[in-house]
Symmetry: C2
């Protein structure tokens, strides 16, 4: 991952957790992260799909957590933003005439699955609540 999406989504959820029950606008949230509100709305869209937040449109609209922060883990966030494996991408088109070229991607798949599993298990153990506690 070479992007800021994990950091952004954690930030968004931390703010929502810190203001539990209130409807916060994308503008307000974006102001804390210092990014464009449209980026925030995009992430909130995915968070909604996954049932982590609810959003209300129109005046006085905004978003808030749909689950308790004890029921959200960093693994949920990771799964939401993950686009490549932890160790990066494979070389597709390796040469099948070479024994290594032929088999390496199967071996990498196995490795990548393990590292992913490891990461998920750890992130699952950290709830949003636990993470946000650090800010108090």
């Amino acid at each position: 991952m070479n992007n800021t999406r994990f950091a952004t989504v954690v930030h968004v959820l931390a703010i929502l957790a810190d203001n539990d029950g209130e409807w916060l606008s994308s503008d307000w949230i974006a102001n804390s992260i210092n990014i464009n509100p449209v980026m925030v709305r995009k992430e909130l869209g995915t968070l909604q799909q996954r049932g982590l937040v609810i959003t209300r449109k129109g005046k006085e609209g905004g978003s808030r957590l749909q689950k308790s922060s004890t029921e959200i883990s960093l693994a949920d966030i990771y799964l939401l933003v993950k686009n490549t494996e932890v160790l990066g991408k494979k070389n597709l088109n390796t040469n099948p005439q070479c024994p290594i070229g032929k088999q390496i991607n199967k071996a990498l798949d196995g490795l990548f699955a393990k590292t992913d599993e490891l990461m998920l298990a750890y992130l699952q153990s950290i709830t949003l609540e636990k993470f946000v506690k650090q800010f108090r």
Copy 2:
């Protein structure tokens, strides 16, 4: 990490381990990965700096392992290619006027350090030899 460098370097080393003692040219190696030989030479350059391979210039030149494949671990490779944290980049410029914005990066640093540690510990346990065994 959003690139193929880990996969590439693993591939390069797997080939060298599989042809232990022989001097393999960057062209030969590139042919198995199906990438440009210059890319291979670049990675070999770093591998040399770290003392993992030796390279000989000129006709009949090429590269081979400098250490036994039992003394090289996937963690060595990971450290070589790592450019961002496992969970991505932070948002710099968060708003210091917001309590979350002010403190989040410190919290993320802690988290990123843990995930990195976890990953390294696992990768250290896998030697090149062990990895290459899968191809036999």
